[in-house]
Subunit: 156 residues, 2 copies
C-alpha cells in the first residue's frame, strides 16, 4: 500500500519542515509515503470561501483516482486514539487498498463534494491546529501507528 | 498573570525549536511566558520508571510555589476544545492566579504526588504525542487561545 499526504497551500514552512521530513522518512520504512502539496488556486486571496473551495475541489478531484482511499482530516471528523488509528491503517492494507491518501484541506476546509468523496473523515483533536502544524502531527502519528503495528518501542 | 511552560528532559530538539520560539514569542504579547526545561535526574537511564518519577517529583515540588496553579498535561486528563481552553485561561486570570504552570511530564509520565498536586489535568488529544512535539503544540495552542480571547483573526 502507498500512503500519500496531500495538503492544500504553501510549501512546508521552516518551523515544521525538518520534523515533517524526519517522520516521513521513518514512515517510509513501512509504506511508500510522500507528500503532494497542492498550490492554492490563482487569486485565492480575492475569492470568497465557497468559490475558493469549489476551485480547490476541481483541482483535487482531477488528481484522485477512482480506487484511491481518501481520508479527509477535518475537525468535524471522528477522533481516534493511536490503537484505533493503527488498526484503521492495518485494515486498509488488508483491504488491498493500493493508495491511501490523507488530505489536509485549505484555509476554509473543503467543499461538500470533497466531503462526500472522502471514504473517512478523521479529526486529529478537539483542538484546532494550523495546517502547517497538522502536517507535522500527521507525519508523526502515521509513523507512530506503524511502530505500534510492528510492536516496536517508539510508542509506550 | 505569568505563564510558565515546564518540561522534563532535554533542550528543545531542532525539529521543534523554531516553532516553539515563534509561538512563545507571540504568546508573550498577551502574558509573560517562558520555558523551564527541567533536566532528567542523573543516571535516569539506569532507574526503574517508579524511581525516576519519584526523583523527578522531588525536583519539581522543590521548584513549585504554594500558590502556583499547576496544569499537568497527561493523556488521562480532560480533553478541551479551543473555546474551553481559552475560557479556562481567562478564569485563571480572573482568579488572580499569579503564575500558571503547564507541565509536560517525563518519559513515563509523572508520579502520583505530582498528579495530586496538579490543580488541573489536561489531555491535548486522544492521540499520544512525543514530548518534544507536545511542547510545540502547547505553545501554539496557548497563543491561539489568547488570540481567541482578544477576538483576533488567527483562529477561524
Amino acid at each position: 500500500m502507498k500512503i500519500q499526504l496531500w495538503s492544500i497551500g504553501k510549501a512546508h514552512e521552516s518551523y515544521v519542515k525538518e520534523g515533517i521530513e524526519l517522520f516521513t522518512k521513518r514512515l517510509n520504512n513501512y509504506f511508500s509515503a510522500d507528500w503532494k502539496i497542492i498550490p492554492s488556486p490563482k487569486n485565492a486571496a480575492g475569492l470568497e470561501p465557497e468559490e475558493l473551495k469549489t476551485k480547490e475541489e476541481e483541482i483535487i478531484l482531477a488528481q484522485l483516482k477512482k480506487d484511491d482511499y481518501l481520508i479527509l482530516l477535518d475537525e468535524r471528523g471522528k477522533l481516534l486514539n493511536n490503537m484505533a488509528l493503527a488498526n484503521f491503517i492495518q485494515q486498509r492494507a488488508n483491504d488491498s487498498t493500493k493508495t491511501c491518501i490523507f488530505l489536509i484541506g485549505g484555509a476554509y476546509g473543503v467543499s461538500k463534494g470533497i466531503q462526500q468523496r472522502a471514504n473517512f473523515t478523521w479529526s486529529l483533536s478537539s483542538l484546532v491546529f494550523p495546517h502547517q502544524l497538522a502536517r507535522l502531527i500527521l507525519a508523526e502519528q502515521l509513523y507512530r501507528c506503524c511502530s505500534i503495528l510492528k510492536n516496536e518501542k517508539y510508542h509506550h
